[in-house]
Amino acid sequence: MQMRIEAGNTLRHVFVQRKNGVYEVTIDGTTHHVDAVRIDPATLSLVVHDAAGGRRSLAAALSPGGAPGAVDVHVAGRRVPVQVQNGSGLGRRREAGATGSGPQRVLAPMPGKVVRVLVKPGDAVTARQGLVVVEAMKMENELRAARDGRVKDVSVVEGQSVDAGTVLVLVE
């Protein structure tokens, strides 16, 4: 079985075969010997044979990521976002849009109330600079710029209630 899997912005070519009771997983030419069994529909128990002859035991739990083919893998205390590529090359990770080029639309992540607008059209902003503060779940949440740019439009005013997905600010 052959797959293309992206993790950490690197696309890996993966080939799996079963041999002598374990799986041989070759990732970009490096072969790993792994025993895998399913714990529940979302969880695998892996025993990874290491080079020194060790048998490392890990549980890996998978949950759907934010886009088709995206998977969050909970393993070794981390949540690692992974993208499974299908043949036509569709299904790039959603985050790509946010950190790449092109205008950035800052959306309300949940229903709430705009308590502060920190920028106005024409302002130059730097990456991670606060743009709008939305109150939801009893907390104030500052929405920030993903990268440097200039505010093109502010679509909300202080005190306004917004639904999830409402465009708050446009940065370009």
Binding site: M1, A42, V75, V84
Partner: protein
């Protein structure tokens, strides 16, 4: 006042906590729920459950009329408010009393009194307990700058200008030197005037590196007030406690005697009954100051339970039904071992702690020696957007602080929540910090440490993690046919599983 059925005017983990205490005592429980909480854990665990309205708290959990109506219809004879919502609402406490219901908490009068910052401050002064040095009388518009400068000289710099009617940081200014005072005074008065319609301010010394130390109290209706060993609550993010522990490594036995007896003195001065907490600021030089009183059960009450063995909710109920406090005062002040609590929130610590509501697709809860998980949710459960996003309190106990912290690391590593993001990676990061491990911190610790990271991810993903993730995804695809991945001995059981699935 016999209590046979308690209405719990709350939701989430604290409602579950109270239901369990009632069940231990053979007392029936009535849950209330808003629309989105119909499938919540507290509803399922209670003996009875009643709807109280739409999702916004103001239309459900804060509706005094509806909740009293449910109490009447269900035949409840007592009400427990938990924390938050109506817990410190004197009107609710009074309405319960007027309706002939036992309110499991302090009197409405005590709630009113200690709810006012200046009245609480005066109660502390009356009890002979130190408050942060400052002006006792309001400084109105008519007090000239020179007079304010003279008073400030007596208090010392840096100091805080605060609005008498204040709250939420409005009308508050830090003043580092005398020449900053006139400008700050003008600004604070103007802000206070427009925000509260009252421009009066007062001065208070600024404590530079305070620890937040608090003392749990129980008071019965027979005049007994008992303090408990302190809780260390300095680990706060934006003034919200996130990790608490008991005891505090900054509190010596002598200091403990002084602080706990002062705390009890404040409570006695106001005739306080049931559970309450006195909050102090502890300065680097060992001096401490009354800050405020919380007239309810605290979120972090379990750490006190772990080091004293006292079930605080059970005692709240016993006190409310008129029992005497028969606990040994001495044992309450001698902690047995050490306890730590992490408040697990549905927030993404790597995105500025943005709330992360939604469905919990997978949940594995830690177990084993020294671990307690006070959760309000379950696998498949929903974290709604309308309420505080705390999903669980993870508490560990150990023979000493290092042991308790080691168990916390173990428990956090076992904890798995899928479908939403949580603050678990944040806690694992804090637990790795050498200053935290050495108990070298004050209330500004977390904000300083987080600020220094400049948004770097709390739990870095390295090449090994990526390889493991790729292996997992590849093998998940390969083993999608369940029978392929199951050990041989299990296969026969897939028949019954299949039948089970067919039934769904």
């Amino acid at each position: 006042m016999p209590i046979t059925k308690v209405l719990i005017a709350n939701r989430g983990e604290i409602a579950v906590r109270i239901i369990r205490a009632c069940r231990d005592m053979g007392i029936a429980t009535v849950a209330v729920y808003s629309d989105c909480d119909r499938a919540a854990l507290h509803v399922r665990l209670a003996d009875e459950a009643w709807p109280v309205g739409p999702n916004p708290p103001r239309e459900s959990y804060l509706r005094i009329d509806t909740i009293l109506d449910v109490a009447r219809q269900s035949g409840a004879d007592a009400v427990h408010p938990g924390y938050g919502f109506l817990a410190e609402n004197e009107d609710f406490a009074a309405a319960c009393r007027d309706a002939g219901l036992v309110f499991i908490g302090p009197s409405p009068e005590a709630i009113t009194l200690m709810g006012s910052k200046t009245a609480a401050r005066q109660a502390a002064i009356k009890a002979g307990v130190p408050v942060v040095p400052g002006t006792e009388e309001p400084l109105g518009d008519d007090v000239p700058d020179a007079e304010v400068l003279r008073i400030a000289e007596g208090i010392g710099y840096p100091l805080m200008l605060k609005a008498v009617a204040g709250g939420g940081g409005k009308g508050m200014r830090m003043v580092a030197t005398p020449d900053e005072l006139p400008g700050a005074l003008r600004a604070a008065r103007s802000e206070a005037g427009s925000a509260f319609g009252d421009s009066a301010v007062y001065l208070e010394r600024r404590i530079l590196s305070p620890r937040h130390i608090e003392v749990q109290l129980l008071g019965d209706h027979h005049g007994t007030v008992l303090p408990f060993v302190e809780r260390e609550c300095s680990i706060q993010r934006r003034h919200q406690k996130v990790i608490e522990e008991s005891p505090s490594l900054a509190v010596s036995p002598a200091l403990r005697r002084a602080m706990t007896s002062d705390a009890a003195a404040v409570a006695r001065t106001v005739g306080y009954t049931n559970a309450g907490t006195i909050e102090f600021l502890l300065d680097e030089d060992g001096s401490y100051y009354f800050l405020e009183m919380n007239t309810r059960l605290q979120v972090e009450h379990p750490i006190t339970e772990m080091v004293t063995g006292v079930d605080l909710v059970r005692w709240q109920i016993r006190i409310a039904r008129g029992e005497r406090l028969t606990l040994d005062p001495e044992t309450l002040l001698i902690p047995r071992g050490h306890a730590v609590e992490c408040r697990i929130y549905a927030e993404d610590p790597d995105s500025n702690f943005m709330p992360s509501p939604g469905r919990i697709l997978g949940l594995r809860v830690p177990h084993g020696p020294g671990v307690r998980d006070d959760s309000g949710t379950y696998e498949g459960g929903e974290v709604p957007i309308y309420y505080d996003p705390m999903i669980s309190k993870l508490i560990t106990w150990g023979e000493d602080r290092d042991h308790a912290l080691a168990r916390m690391r173990r428990a956090l590593a076992e904890y798995e929540v899928r479908g939403i993001k949580t603050t678990i990676p944040f806690f694992l990061w804090v637990l790795e910090d050498a200053d935290f491990q050495a108990s070298r911190f004050d209330t500004t610790f977390i904000d300083r440490k987080l600020g220094a990271r400049q948004g770097a991810p709390l739990q870095a993903i390295d090449a090994d993690h990526e390889t493991l993730a790729v292996l997992a995804v590849a093998l998940d695809q390969v083993t999608r046919t369940p029978a392929a991945a199951r050990p041989a001995a299990s296969r026969s059981l897939w028949t019954s599983r299949a039948r089970h699935d067919a039934l769904r």
